[in-house]
Symmetry: C2
């Protein structure tokens, strides 16, 4: 397998990032953030979730966000959908791409969705069917693929089994998540080699968390295996390492910087991306991304 020369970065800051950040932003702020991310060249930007505002207050304005963004040609703006009611709202607001979600750990999935894995996937069957009938793309998130906060290690075979179930209900592609940031390059290799036996690389993404500083090494190992889609958040929004319980999304800038240095194209303009993160930082407080902070420091030292 030759290493991909071009990578698709799935920017999850406006949804996964803000949801974990613990702040509620008005729709107009999220809209400006999304538009700035689009201007920076990101081709896939996750913009919201049609979940109950009682569960996730930060996503209460997703209708307004999806209606308010300035869609750029060729850019996709997926939203998270938990059930048919969520799908109705998403479609009404103009969604053209949705994501459903489950986990590779039974305990985690029960705590998160109040259902076992197989049951949660069955519940998604009508959502996926109706989305596909409407010509809407469907992604499946699989959490805790490398470890679970309740169960500890997760068998690699379990990840494949869950993705087979998602494939069986018509999900188009799969985001393999290291939810608690315990993956390392050898675990990445083991899981993806297993998945690549029956799914093409184009249908697989790595959703790496940088909780323990391993995210870039993990992405680069997956890249060597042919994986060319990675989920990251602008500035690393979604779990500051200085806060207890940090979730630690991988920062988009950190991935883009390293890939560009190694001659891999992303289509992202790093300077404009830093501008988008800086805009967001003004609303949520300090962001932890390393390249983001290094770039700000460089700008601060530059002659005016």
């Amino acid at each position: 397998m030759t290493r991909p020369r071009r990578v698709t970065v799935v920017e999850v800051g406006p949804r996964d990032g803000l949801q974990s950040q613990g702040v509620v932003l008005p729709p107009e702020t999220i809209i400006e953030f999304v538009d700035r991310l689009g201007e920076a060249g990101l081709a896939v930007i996750e913009v919201g979730a049609f979940v109950s505002p009682r569960w996730v207050p930060a996503m209460a304005g997703s209708d307004a966000v999806l209606r308010g963004i300035h869609r750029r040609p060729g850019v996709r703006y997926p939203v998270l959908v938990p059930n048919e009611q969520g799908l109705d709202r998403a479609l009404a607001a103009g969604a053209r791409d949705i994501s459903v979600f489950t986990a590779a750990s039974e305990t985690f999935n029960r705590k998160n969705t109040n259902a076992g894995i197989a049951e949660s996937i069955e519940r998604f069957r009508p959502v996926v069917r109706r989305a596909r009938d409407a010509g809407v793309g469907v992604r499946g998130y699989v959490s805790t693929c490398f470890g679970c906060p309740y169960e500890g290690p997760v068998p690699h075979e379990k990840v494949r089994e869950v993705i087979r179930l998602l494939d069986g209900i018509g999900v188009g592609d799969f985001s393999v998540g290291d939810t608690i940031g315990v993956a390392h390059p050898e675990a990445i290799q083991a899981v993806f080699e297993l998945l690549l036996r029956e799914f093409p690389a184009e249908r697989l993404a790595l959703h790496a968390h940088d909780t323990r500083g391993t995210a870039l090494a993990n992405c680069l190992r997956a890249l060597d295996l042919g994986i060319a889609t990675f989920d990251t958040s602008s500035g690393g929004v979604g779990g500051c390492p200085y806060a207890p319980g940090a979730t630690g999304n991988m920062a988009t800038e950190d991935l883009v910087y390293a890939l560009h240095a190694m001659g891999v194209d992303t289509g992202v303009d790093l300077n404009r991306l830093v501008d988008a993160s800086r805009f967001l930082e003004g609303h949520v407080g300090p962001l932890p991304g390393r390249v983001y902070r290094a770039e700000l420091a460089t700008r601060a030292r530059a002659p005016k």
Copy 2:
């Protein structure tokens, strides 16, 4: 080349780390930090620098530190030495290992030492000879091997040339430094493959900086090439990413965690290392290491 099963971590927190942190700690605090690092199983701990206190106030107490630490059998406690006067002080205080330093960039070396590279290495000739005559080990630091803040990219061949000069005056082993944190795994591979043509892996170390989040990926690539010595600082002391001008030493915990997860031995007890970093944090303020912060968060959530 088979990947090493065991790695030597060179803990540079008490010298390189504190020197860049911008705080001056009393010798007794540094002594306790060093002793805690020794208890955590670190086999090489850089404890000070015999440079002018006017240049580097943080290292003014290095005599007292070297005299005050509780030396553990098998542990080495190197100190930085800039000239013969520094060597005299180091030997008088009981140093058994010293380090000299130069750079792979002429401009950086001139700004740092007021001499060209070849000239600075000539100046070290009597220092190295006298140290070796006294049975003292000598390491050579080479800064800016992957990029220079003044010159930009540094030719790989220049790194080899500088290490040849250090070898020529009797330096025993070499720390290849990514001073400004711009290396990526392919640059690591190019430089170390060049060096390994004439120097054995046992004489080479990587001194990675995590300014842009690439340090772990860089260390793992070097490990794959047979490199088994890495310089890191406890908690990542020596350049907080939240501060302008951050230097960003790689955090010892981040390296140790990833290596252990991948089955590579370091001899370090991660819990005790976190204790040492927490002790230091009480004196210098928040430390940026990712595993360090994740471990603190885990402890905060654990039932009492």
